[in-house]
């Protein structure tokens, strides 16, 4: 039982270990391949997205430049109208100059077609930068500002910095929040001022043409065809956000609390410090506060070229959108990895079984062989190591079986010699005792009687002495054969030595039956024996003991049969005596033979 358990555990162990190792290799290989292809694709996607973002940012920057160029063209166009110069040069006329109305109409027309313009003004360079003609956007309508509502703007940069410019040059202001009271729609809005000088025919600078641009309106137009998930950032050259998806983070400096791009996108500081023209930020904190994003920032020259003014344009895209395709790829890869892993596991199981199957077969064969020396089928036809092992094992089995057979045979001989009489082949005393004891034991269980007939040949000594031992031996053999023929197969005929024989009947029903057999033996032995062409005559004296009435052990029964035989011999031979009857006839006599 224990052996069975051990061996099955061992065979399971080999199969299992081999299977696990193979499956692990398979799973690992497919997993690693999947992982690396996934990572590579992911990186590729991110890189592509970054490049796209940077390109988009640069394109957006170019479009911003073009858009600003368009604004500048509008300003130059208006500044170039001769009537503009004439108004700028004329003394202030409170009664209302029809030429101003005409110019105001032109301004209004421009505002009407450019929703991204807040305000168009003609400002005098004298009189502290007094506004001469001003048209504001006021919600959905346009409003011309006149009279006392016109303001002095000389202290604003778009006046004092634009005034020194030559005709044809254009000033771009910093992008600020316009806090100028009375600016209508433009009040408190992110604004960019574009200004250009107005000159008289004699080259005297008379005023400025100023267009206020709505930064958000401008960008609304510019980014209209960007993908919806793109976030647009614009910062000034110090990194203050001007445009941000979260408007509360823009123009922080205007509220005394700066919000800088480099605090969110650290690498942008490289642009601010002049170390880079553009940077990619990946993965960066998302502007939308939900996960990471991929972002690209590019520097864009803006305004005064000599002073190297610039702004930074940025675009970002949530990383998860970039990786949306990766997720599909990831799922596919995962399915593939799982599929291949499953395949690897199944294959490993098959392979490990194929490998351990023949081994198990040999284990079973070895077990069978050690149990009953049976030779069972082995995978001897295989051409591999297993086949060789099986063949070697089979040869070994065959050899062991041959040796065992020899051993059994010689043992059987020895056994036979030990338990048989060498001359006659009959059972000897040892075997008789053995059989007798078995018979006694069996009779005690079954209640059936057993009988012993002790035979002593009469006149054998004379034959032996007269004709020699060789004849004597032949006589003894012939007697043996005759005795064996006279009894049943189951009865034991033994030779105790000399001319003494014993027949054991281990199952008799009636003692009278034994008397008949005894008489048959006497009659049989009385017949002449022919040996080497010469006849010999003998007789026999028989003594019979019966179990259980005469005793219950082998020695006693044999002694009593011997005693009875002695009585028969004494009576002249050629007769038999029962021990019982001897005892009955002669009383104490048997004790004193």
């Amino acid at each position: 039982m224990t052996g069975q358990k051990n061996s099955s555990r061992i065979s399971f162990g080999i199969a299992f270990k081999l299977g696990v190792i193979l499956a692990t290799f398979g799973v690992l290989a497919s997993g690693l391949t999947g992982y690396y292809s996934y990572t590579a694709s992911r990186n590729l996607l991110v890189k592509t997205a970054e490049r796209d973002l940077l390109t988009s940012a640069q394109v957006l920057g170019r479009r911003l430049s073009i858009a600003l160029g368009e604004v500048a063209k509008d300003a130059l166009l208006l500044a170039g109208i001769p009537v503009t110069a004439r108004i700028a040069g004329a003394p202030d006329d409170p009664s209302g100059d029809p030429r101003k109305t005409a110019i105001a109409d032109t301004f209004a027309a421009l505002l009407a077609v450019h929703p991204e313009y807040f305000q168009v003004r003609l400002i005098s360079t004298d009189n502290n930068g007094m506004e001469l003609v001003r048209v504001d956007r006021d919600q959905d309508s346009l409003k011309r500002v006149v009279g006392v509502d016109l303001q002095e703007k000389g202290h604003y940069p778009y006046v004092f910095q634009a005034s020194p410019l030559a005709v044809g040059q254009v000033y771009l202001s910093k992008i600020i929040i316009n806090h100028e009271q009375g600016a209508h729609s433009g009040l408190d809005k992110p604004t960019l001022q574009v200004a250009t000088p107005v000159e008289s025919g004699h080259g005297r600078k008379l005023g400025l043409l100023v267009i206020n641009v709505d930064l958000n309106g401008l960008f609304g137009l510019l980014k209209a065809d960007l993908p919806g998930d793109f976030d647009v950032f614009l910062t000034n050259e110090w990194g203050d956000f001007l445009i941000h998806p979260d408007p509360s983070r823009t123009f922080g400096f205007d509220r005394g609390r700066r919000v800088l791009v480099q605090d969110t996108f650290e690498r942008v500081s490289e642009i601010i410090q002049g170390q880079a023209e553009s940077v990619l930020v990946n993965p960066g904190a998302s502007a939308r506060q939900s996960g990471e994003s991929v972002a690209a920032f590019a520097k864009l020259a803006f305004g005064d070229v000599k002073a190297r003014r610039f702004v930074i344009l940025g675009l970002s895209q949530p990383l998860q959108n970039v990786l949306r395709e990766t997720r599909l790829l990831g799922i596919n890869t995962m399915q593939m990895v799982l599929g291949f892993s499953l395949l690897a596991i199944i294959l490993s199981a098959i392979v490990s079984r194929a490998m351990t199957g023949p081994l198990n077969m040999m284990v079973r064969a070895a077990k069978r062989f050690s149990a009953d020396h049976a030779i069972v089928d082995l995978p001897v036809t295989r051409n591999d190591e297993v086949g060789l092992l099986a063949r070697t094992f089979r040869d070994m089995q065959t050899q062991i079986n041959a040796r065992l057979t020899e051993l059994y045979e010689s043992q059987r001989d020895v056994d036979h010699i030990a338990r048989h009489d060498a001359l006659t082949g009959l059972a000897n005393r040892l075997m008789l005792y053995d059989r007798l004891e078995h018979a006694i034991a069996a009779s005690q269980r079954s209640g059936r009687r057993i009988a012993l007939i002790f035979i002593d040949l009469d006149r054998f000594k004379e034959i032996n002495d007269t004709h020699g031992h060789a004849v004597g031996d032949k006589v003894l053999k012939a007697v043996s054969n005759r005795l064996k023929k006279m009894v049943r197969e189951v009865d034991t005929v033994a030779r105790l030595g000399g001319d003494e024989f014993v027949i054991l009947f281990d199952s008799i029903d009636d003692p009278r039956e034994i008397a008949i057999i005894a008489q048959k033996v006497i009659d049989g032995l009385r017949l002449p024996l022919e040996i080497d062409g010469q006849e010999y005559r003998m007789g026999a004296s028989l003594g019979i003991s019966v179990c259980p009435q005469d005793g219950d052990n082998a020695t006693e029964l044999l002694d009593k049969a011997d005693l009875a035989m002695y009585r028969a011999k004494k009576a002249g031979g050629d007769t038999f005596r029962f021990y019982t009857s001897v005892a009955a006839d002669e009383g104490q006599l048997r004790l004193v033979p």
Partner: protein, 348 residues
């Protein structure tokens, strides 16, 4: 007026250091300080903590409004000691958020400059004979001039109206101080309390100023840039010595004067909240900050004047006018917004 150039890294480090030390020393007594960046540097705090075997929790604020909110939140129960300027102290006293102080418990006040030792003369920190705050640091708003363009150092803010400097003056884009300065120049004894009938005249003067300046600035860095790029001759130094230092560092040849009519100055003072846990410890803190090495660290590290050493910029004779609450902040703001937008006198 807070320090605008607070050292961010120092701040972060300090907060970290404090949070660590406070978690380690829960059993010790804690002093809760609410103040401005630069007023309680971690190394100086550590010395105090060691000396009195206490933990100091420093919380920084960057505007007067946040300071007000934090002290007001639980009637001062969240903090023991705080720093606010003279103009702000009044409302804390009005609300009963700060406690009268026993000056004898703060012996280092004896070593303060004469200007600060007569506490009753400083507006806004006394009430009914009791002192509620101790001066710690200040900055005055003098006049910066370019030595090359201005041969004679100006003696009055009136120089900003001088037509000789038209288009070369930089003024500050702030309503409150500008109104006060003009009132001062017009000889008002109560420049923080302008009467309704006086406003029109002051507005006219401010429009005149607008017509004489190049422009108005808001940030100190912006002022430096404008001053240099436009060869300005005069500049009202709203940020005081901070601007002087920055301009000198940038290589400008400038002078700095406190005008004869006096310079506006903010003066930050320590006060103790009514929710103080250990008043004695709070007093020890104030006393500690008035020690010479602590106060002079403020000057060395932050460029702010302290109250124990004579300042380099303004000598002791120059008149400093400590800020006080103004009569109507909103009115000044709305008028100023119109002035700077370019409205002409006839619109007012």
């Amino acid at each position: 007026m807070p320090l605008t150039n607070a050292n961010r890294h120092l701040l972060v480090g300090l907060v970290l250091a404090l949070s660590c030390s406070s978690s380690l020393a829960l059993a010790r007594e804690t002093l809760r300080v609410l103040t401005w960046p630069g007023y309680a540097d971690s190394d100086l705090v550590a010395i105090f903590e060691k000396r009195y075997d206490v933990t100091v929790e420093v919380t920084f604020v960057s505007t007067d409004d946040v300071l007000w909110e934090k002290i007001n939140a639980h009637e001062g129960a969240d903090f023991d000691v705080f720093a606010a300027n003279t103009a702000e102290q009044t409302r804390y006293i009005d609300r009963g958020l700060s406690l009268p102080l026993d000056i004898s418990n703060i012996p280092n006040t004896r070593h303060q400059l004469p200007r600060f030792s007569d506490l009753k003369s400083i507006p806004g920190i006394s009430r009914e004979g009791k002192v509620y705050a101790i001066p710690y640091t200040y900055a005055e708003m003098g006049l910066i001039y370019d030595r090359k363009q201005v041969k004679e150092p100006p003696t009055s803010m009136a120089a900003m109206w001088d037509p000789r400097y038209k288009g070369r003056v930089l003024a500050y884009n702030g309503s409150s101080h500008n109104f006060t300065i003009v009132a001062l120049l017009l000889g008002s004894k109560t420049p923080f309390q302008i009467k309704d009938r006086e406003f029109k005249r002051i507005v006219d003067r401010l429009i005149a100023l607008r017509r004489n300046v190049l422009t108005f600035y808001s940030q100190p860095e912006e002022s430096i840039e404008l001053f240099r790029e436009n060869s300005a001759a005069l500049m009202f130094a709203n940020y005081g010595t901070q601007q002087v230092e920055q301009l000198r560092k940038a290589g400008a040849d400038i002078g700095y004067v406190i005008p004869k009519e006096g310079a506006l100055a903010w003066l930050d003072c320590w006060a103790i909240t009514r929710g103080v846990r250990n008043k004695r410890l709070a007093e020890q803190w104030i006393d500690y900050t008035l020690e010479k090495n602590v106060s002079s660290a403020l000057t060395k590290r932050q460029g702010l004047a302290n109250t124990v050493e004579p300042a380099t910029s303004a000598d002791s004779s120059s008149q400093l006018i400590w800020l006080q609450p103004v009569e109507d902040f909103n009115l000044r703001t709305s008028l100023w917004d119109r002035i700077i937008s370019g409205d002409r006198p006839e619109k007012f």
